[in-house]
Symmetry: C2
Subunit: 336 residues, 2 copies
DNA sequence: TTGAAAGCGCTAACAT
DNA sequence: ATGTTAGCGCTTTCAA
């Protein structure tokens, strides 16, 4: 393994100069620089990055803690993170938790041991006190999740108002019995979407009927099962706001198996705007969450912390958008 | 930052002993060990992993080169890799290429600079000579892709025979005009699936009609467009084998927009068995590719190389399976 | 079973 | 603009 000293000797300069050529080329006279570069090329010298990391105690690596990489929403956020990190010369270390809190705690060691320069959490189920403690010492950003009462830098959408928009859309379409299938209620996002749903009903003078609020787990199957249950009600809903797109497909399938069709007999709105919602037949009306952008912004925010860039803002709320497709029936009306 | 020496002093032992307690506890007398561990606890000592990596010139990190993390197939393989790596104390560094070959070359530097202990490629579009060269020097495994004429450790399925199975399934169902929408033909997997399709036709004494073979790009839209084109043919196909599931949904949609329905008027078989194929309505008959398993196996194979475990086998071909759902019409027959 | 000591390859402060 | 030098924190060989 050829090392910096070998290059230095061959070029008749000191190690320091070689180091400078690599890290601060402008501080070296052009002639010297060219000579050194030529030798580097000739010897096919590769700097030992581990030595550099050690010496500088920085790694140019960020840790991304994901509940589940196989989930479309997370993989797209991850895509955005990877993109922004790469653009800025940083690498991404992956940490899958499989929703286990203990794993989140484990990965904290990476920060403490300086194996990474910072961390992005896509899920924060740890104790808030601990998170607050960690935040004080290391660069951390939260995205895709949200934590109340703690000033952690966060990139998110406004889930409450987005859910309100989705629900209102159904109300404006003339529905008064609008159901909601929630995500797992231990997640803040699920709580927020539920809150927005409630707000929309109340602001439109509609009663909140708890029988029309059922908890799902974001899976197609849970959407199917909860909808099947509600269809057997004496007064079944005529519209459903599902907390994500995958459950929305379960809702539509349940209606179909019950002899109803969406949107004619049941209007459905989903959430996330994953590819599935555009591909599914009928196309699913949904709230578009800028997943890639969220990841990108989160990474940028983290890199600012790492490099010490002044941050005026620490909480970013990105825009979400109602995408009207077929499942809500709005297009049916327009066709009249 | 408390360092090893601090622990040593407090425990009245040498740095060497502390190091041993951490890395080879069995070589230290129990009493000493306990004392040291107590001090470590007490001082909340965290070893500087960067120093360790540098000193040992190993990183316990593997690099995963992915064409696109946002693609379901890749994210599931990645899930398997992450799982196996984690189980064995290794970390996963993510490298997205966005299908750019130059990026693949760039990431090679991570290996050369010893920033990672090995590399898993989910796409190998680099020059074979270079790959062969790299393989000789560093642990490398290929999965999800396949390279002819080079003995690189590989984990894959048999795309040719899987595609043959898929196509034969349609032929057995009575179809003689079976179309194929391929993936991008510069990819080996697309070529292989096309080959399997051809074999099935020939083995069943059916002509290969090139007008029924159209190249897609794995997207819903390309499936839709290519199918729309074929439906306008004088003798349109009655069945389609699509090289992936997403294009299969495009095929079904195109048929629908043409006034036909699947499977009644057009039988469709996809490939991959991503979640979408189970959720879609009609459920898509497809070839199940064990994505998670592939990732897991690939990681294990790589770790064997890294740790110097004897490898009897270097090419793993995992089992794929035909999953019969609604889109092919087989269930229609059974209902008779 | 433990300690002493060298040194991994680089960077950066300081000197020239 | 370039060189000298110390040292980052750990692991490991050798000696005791």
């Amino acid at each position: 393994m050829v090392k910096m000293n070998d290059v230095a000797e061959r070029a008749n300069v000191s190690k320091a100069t070689v180091s400078r050529v690599l890290r601060n080329p402008e501080t070296v006279k052009k002639a010297t620089r060219d000579k050194v570069l030529a030798i580097i090329e000739q010897l096919n010298y590769q700097p030992n990055i581990l030595a550099r990391h050690f010496r500088r105690s920085e790694t140019n690596t960020i840790l991304v803690v994901v509940p589940n990489i196989m989930n479309t929403v997370f993989s797209h956020i991850l895509g955005g993170i990877e993109h922004a990190a790469g653009e800025n010369g940083y690498r991404v270390l992956l940490a899958n938790t499989n929703q286990q809190v203990e794993k989140e705690y484990e990965y904290l060691d990476h920060l403490k041991q300086r194996q990474v320069d910072g961390m992005i959490l896509l899920s924060a189920r740890m104790d808030k006190g601990i998170i607050a403690e960690v935040m004080k010492q290391y660069p951390v950003v939260l995205t895709a999740d949200y934590l109340e009462g703690i000033a952690i830098p966060t990139v998110s959408i406004d889930n409450v108002s987005s859910a309100r928009t989705a629900t209102e859309h159904l109300i404006k379409l003339g529905h008064s019995r609008v159901a909601h299938i929630t995500g797992p209620l231990h997640l803040q996002v699920s709580q927020d979407r539920l809150k927005g749903y409630r707000q929309a009903l109340l602001q439109n003078n509609l009663d909140v009927d708890n029988i029309l609020i059922q908890e799902g787990d974001f899976s197609h199957e849970s959407g199917y099962n909860q909808m099947t249950k509600m269809l057997a009600l004496e007064h079944p809903p005529t519209a459903v706001f599902s907390a994500n797109d995958e459950m929305a497909t379960g809702v539509i399938k349940a209606a179909k198996d019950y002899g109803l069709s969406a949107p004619e007999d049941l209007a459905v709105v989903g959430f996330d705007n994953i590819k599935l919602s555009a591909i599914y037949d009928p196309g699913i009306t949904t709230i578009a969450q800028p997943m890639f952008e969220m990841g990108k912004k989160a990474a940028e925010l983290l890199l600012h912390q790492i490099t010490g860039v002044e941050m005026t803002k620490r909480q970013y709320v990105l825009e979400s958008e109602l995408i009207i497709r077929d499942s809500c029936g709005a297009k049916l009306l327009n066709d009249d």
